[in-house]
């Protein structure tokens, strides 16, 4: 999986560092002062590095918990994200990470306790007014990435105000009244590295003791052994992403097969964990029939009545990340298609997009209650949607 382990001098004696270095004792182990020396170097080639990525063990200093931009989250004034890891061990061609980071190495911040303290502090702070969150987060690259993402949003009003997310009536009630939400798995896959990172092993019990805080783990991984050893908790949602079989085969490199992901999700659901489905990214070549077949397969394995939520989202990427990805993959058909750019976000063109989406949703609604569904859309999308 990795070709070398870098570790910051500051975490040399951290127990997690020790455990990981022991695990990878046969790999080169290289000490550095700060992870940015390696991760943020100029002129690196993400695509070349992805062939031989390294793992970097580091300490996260500032910015451990960040507000999700306005229009996102179960509650617009109480949605946050935190990233214990940068980059993903999978290699999905549509992923924005390849356009966002200069390096394909994975950074694991081992100081989970500091993340937990930051989350605790956030929980004790009064929530920011919604408009402040939006204003504070609208102009950075980071917030552009977030707001063009598909983090589940439950705030219908703000979503419509901002044009970020479209929620059918009733979807906002899914988790209404819940506490603040903390999204993981944004700069990485939450569970894919679990056997090494022990991320969920640490954080799920931590959230179990704080029932008003909600944790969402976003993943394509089948590494659920750790979760199954724990008692399920209602405030930890495991959200799994799916595309059609053809899209998965072509664009999702190193990702467990759909059937295996479904088997894992079913085991979680049967064990009592809240699970959610994210059908994304929807790519123009995905035919509604193929999506329908996927839905048949998914809902043959899962109980739709016990799903936490279901969402879909189009492929979209901040324009500067898209440009970077195109430079890296000029031979990639995905990036060679017709695109449109609105407000700095690139999407792939579909001649009849809304009708196409409606067809897909119609197929989906044969299986689920539409009130349990929401569709993520481009930031500041025109009102046509």
């Amino acid at each position: 999986m990795f070709s070398a382990i870098y570790f910051e001098s500051a975490v040399r004696d951290h127990p997690r560092t020790h455990a990981i270095l022991r695990r990878y004792r046969d790999l080169p182990q290289i000490e550095c002062e700060r992870y940015g020396e390696i991760f943020n170097r100029k002129s690196q080639n993400f695509r070349l590095q992805k062939e031989n990525p390294a793992l970097i063990l580091a300490r996260k200093h500032g910015g451990k918990v960040l507000p999700a931009p306005g229009g996102y989250g179960f509650d617009a004034a109480g949605s946050h994200y935190f990233s214990h890891m940068l980059n993903c061990i999978y290699d999905c061609r549509y992923c924005f990470l390849q356009g966002m980071y200069r390096s394909a190495h994975c950074v694991l911040f081992v100081n989970y306790e500091d993340f937990a303290a930051a989350i605790e502090q956030t929980l004790s702070d009064p929530p920011l007014p919604k408009e402040d969150i939006h204003r504070n987060s609208c102009h950075s690259a980071r917030s552009r990435r977030i707001s063009s993402s598909t983090l589940p949003t439950r705030s219908c009003d703000s979503a419509q105000d901002d044009g970020v997310v479209h929620l059918p009536t009733g979807a906002g009630e899914v988790a209404s009244g819940a506490g603040q939400v903390f999204y993981s798995g944004y700069d990485c896959d939450s569970l894919a590295f679990e056997p090494v990172s022990g991320f969920a092993e640490y954080f799920v019990p931590w959230f179990a003791a704080r029932s008003r805080a909600i944790l969402e783990l976003r993943t394509k991984s089948t590494q659920i052994g750790g979760l199954l050893k724990q008692e399920p908790i209602p405030n930890c949602i495991i959200a799994m992403s799916f595309t059609t079989h053809a899209a998965a085969a072509r664009w999702e490199h190193g990702v467990p097969a759909i059937d295996k992901r479904l088997a894992a999700l079913r085991r979680l659901q049967e064990a009592g964990w809240p699970v959610a489905l994210r059908f994304e990214p929807l790519l123009p070549d995905m035919k509604p029939d193929a999506c329908g077949e996927l839905f048949e397969q998914v809902f043959h394995r899962l109980d739709p009545r016990r799903l936490h939520s279901v969402s879909s989202g189009l492929f979209r990427m901040p324009a500067d990340y898209f440009r970077n990805a195109l430079k890296l993959y000029p031979d990639e058909a995905l990036f060679a298609r017709e695109t449109r750019t609105r407000n700095g976000v690139v999407a792939l063109q579909h001649p009849n997009e809304e009708a196409w989406l409606r067809q897909i949703e119609t197929a989906l609604f044969r299986h689920i209650d539409p009130t349990n569904y929401y569709r993520c859309a481009d930031e500041n999308t025109d009102s046509e949607n």
Binding site: S43, L48, N52, R250, D285, Y329, P330, A336, R337
Partner: protein, 294 residues
């Protein structure tokens, strides 16, 4: 990437451009490389002796020191640009046994404090850190290799190509038990000879990665033909390259060949025809997409 350990002849670079450039400080360090890879000296020699073969492998003898190493890299680049670079040489070491070969993970320039980080290769070769010093090290204070060129080499080469295609490999020539004073120059080819397998592996690794890199960014032959047929501004030339890459990425090589064989009033008309063809072909259900429908 570990499958490249067996020796194999280098594939010809003609056409694919996957050139690998080697840099050594001294002629003695070049001796075995010249022999193994069939390198011939290119004349006139100029400031830096340089060698090459028809398989796209070149070598420059830079002389000693950071500045000479950097200048030698730049000089070879002007003569024969490389897709990838490898610095080879002997080095002192604070702990490793004489004769040990080390793929360098971290380079520290002792005079400036600047550090460089050659990317890991995935090859199962012994590795280590290196300190580039301005004078031969005799104290061997740290568990690291000591040389006089790598920092200059890496800084210069990684400005020319992605740093992921720049490597440094050192063979330990002296250490506290066998200090530099007792080292004889004639031992250099012998030390290299004992590490032939590793050196060939590294060259093959860089060639393979370099070839992939070139392939990713290659343009169809029609691109050159069209540049010869029409007048393109610099901006249009870049736009043409992008269009050609899109055709290739979408599996539409035949269509671009057909379009390129037609006659257009000027470059603008050609570009418009290419864009129209792409727009029709890449729409879902269009004929051009090579993605199988889901």
């Amino acid at each position: 990437m570990n499958a490249m350990s067996e020796h194999r002849p280098l594939t010809a670079s003609k056409g694919n451009g996957a050139t690998v450039n080697l840099a050594v400080a001294h002629r003695l360090e070049a001796e075995r490389l010249i022999q193994w890879f069939g390198l011939a000296e290119n004349l006139p020699r100029g400031e830096f002796p340089w060698y090459g073969n028809e398989d796209g492998l070149s070598l420059v003898v830079t002389g000693s020191g950071v500045e000479r190493a950097a200048a030698g890299v730049r000089c070879l680049h002007e003569r024969r640009p490389g897709c990838a670079w490898l610095n080879l040489g002997i080095a002192g070491h604070g702990a490793a046994a004489v004769g040990t070969g080390l793929l360098i993970h971290r380079i520290e320039d002792r005079s400036t404090g600047k550090r460089h980080w050659p990317s890991p290769t995935g090859l199962k070769l012994p590795g280590g850190n290196l300190i580039t010093v301005s004078e031969a090290e005799t104290d061997y204070a740290e568990d690291a290799a000591y040389d006089m060129e790598a920092a200059g080499f890496f800084a210069a080469a990684s400005r020319l190509v992605a740093p992921d295609l720049v490597l440094v490999y050192k063979i330990v020539s002296d250490n506290p038990e066998h200090p530099l004073a007792g080292f004889r120059r004639g031992q250099v080819p012998l030390r290299f000879g004992a590490r032939e397998s590793e050196i060939r592996t590294l060259v093959a690794h860089l060639r393979e990665r370099g070839s992939r890199f070139v392939r990713w960014h290659s343009l169809p032959t029609e691109y050159r033909q069209l540049l010869g047929k029409y007048h393109f501004s610099v901006t249009r030339k870049s736009a043409l390259a992008k269009l050609c890459r899109r055709f290739t990425a979408l599996g539409l090589e035949q269509k671009i060949a057909v379009l390129a064989s037609k006659r257009y009033h000027n470059a603008g008309a050609l570009m418009a025809a290419l864009e129209a063809e792409l727009a029709g072909a890449v729409a879902p259900g269009g004929t051009g997409s090579k993605e199988s429908a889901s």
